[in-house]
Symmetry: C2
Subunit: 246 residues, 2 copies
DNA sequence: CGCCTGCTTGATCACAGTCAAAAACGGTGG
DNA sequence: CCACCGTTTTTGACTGTGATCAAGCAGGCG
């Protein structure tokens, strides 16, 4: 069994090392990156839409999301960033970002300078881990597309809750009964392609069914098997099964 | 101005070289890959869902798509592969595929053996081009998510037509009045998260508006500015502007 | 010519959106 | 501790986009 890095201390290292075991030099580089960090208030942009990008970043604590805005102001959230996730890598590749990244809750974030991004790709071990991470992100995006295109409102929410359950488990943020979910129903609506009114009613249905409970920015999962069945959820695509957490 | 490789002859090389100019050795490797190819009939799978992957492939002619099936048989198409596109790279990274890739029309396809995939990533120039290509694919997926989540039926179709217009232009498949679109209205429905009935009615509306015409597997664009306005389409995210084609 | 697939049309239905307002919650400051 | 404020959640009445069901109509191809 591999030695465990405290996921709480450096979730990004734990995540990448879990995809592909890294030599000590690579691990040291990743540790150095996360040495310096800052707190960011909720609802602030880490990357702005349609602007040149300056480097990338790692989320160490809190929830952030990728999103796009239409001219009318309509918002579509296209992905969540949870502790351990790296954002802005594709923006770095293109030197420009087609979408924004904003915080949903207070976030502790470590910046990765553009030169450092290059240094990461230059190390074969890290490069391979980042490729896997990118492939998983693409798989998540596909699953979201299935949700929005071909699942009912409760099914979409159930699938999202199952996805986050597995991802947060991998970084030790899930306890017996559930996990923190510091997002509003408006955020959930913009995630699932619904209105907040409809999200509210769907959540009440799910609660009445004894599946979940969402109160005080925390999701309690009351019946995981039935929740997964409702979403037709199979965690294989996240490549996180069988991980231990600190 | 850089020398032009006949896009018709090797669209994948043209595409990657356009993202990041490649040294001759890299170009030779890419040419070698596409030396051998085979024809595949429509509606056949190049990669099957939930199965281990064996290498990747390049589409040289024809249309293919990534898709996922629900247990009920409902299908969601998550991306199109047109000439020059490489498929199965993420499946190679994970040694397993969460989604299927199937042909929409007859396709000419070149196989890339697993060892060759490794050789591609080992070359810094190709690796960088593939990273950019992956970032563009992610941007396309985000745009689709916005479509399905936050755009009306005609807007979704308009956006898809605009996307394909730019992508096919980059490989020289667009003529004065339009481009080949060898897909059924059922395929379009599974792309846009609609039913084929609704796609049919939306297409008729767009035709009546003088925007497009879709007949005999060919899309004619009658009013590109208005089509783009309807979709709020900005081609920047495709990173293909200002390319010349053979 | 006949069949199959894909396109078109019509009638009806339901899921989700819209609009509007009230209630609950969570901070903040007095 | 409580009054106040903005945000978030909840509720109700109504509307509409897009789904469903079902049938007819090309058009391509053997």
């Amino acid at each position: 069994m591999r030695q465990l890095v405290s996921a709480g201390a450096n979730p990004a290292l734990a995540k990448l090392d879990g995809f592909a075991p890294l030599p000590e030099a690579d691990r040291a580089l990743l540790r150095a990156i996360t040495a310096e960090h800052r707190w960011v208030t909720p609802a602030s942009d880490l990357i702005r839409q349609d602007e040149p990008a300056e480097g990338a970043f790692v989320v160490l604590e809190g929830f952030a999301c990728r999103y796009k805005l239409r001219r009318s102001g309509m918002r579509q959230i296209t992905g969540y960033l949870v502790p351990g996730d790296i954002g802005g890598l594709d923006a770095a590749a293109l030197a420009w970002s087609d979408h924004a990244v904003g915080t949903l809750s207070p976030c502790r974030v470590a910046r990765i300078a553009p030169e450092t991004v290059g240094a990461l790709h230059a190390r074969p071990g890290i490069a391979a881990a980042l490729r896997i991470s990118g492939a998983v992100d693409a798989a998540i995006a596909r699953e979201w597309l299935v949700s929005v295109g071909r699942r009912s409102a409760p099914e979409r929410l159930a699938h999202l809750f199952c996805e986050l359950h597995v991802r947060l488990q991998a970084v030790g943020l899930v306890s017996e009964d559930g996990y923190p979910l510091p997002v509003t129903q408006i955020d959930l609506a913009d995630t699932a392609g619904l209105t907040s009114v409809h999200v509210n009613r769907s959540l009440q249905d799910m609660r009445r069914e004894g599946l979940i409970e969402l109160r005080k920015r925390r999701l309690r999962i009351l019946d995981l098997p039935r929740l997964r069945a409702l979403a037709e959820f199979d965690p294989a695509y996240l490549q996180l099964t069988g991980r231990e957490t600190a």
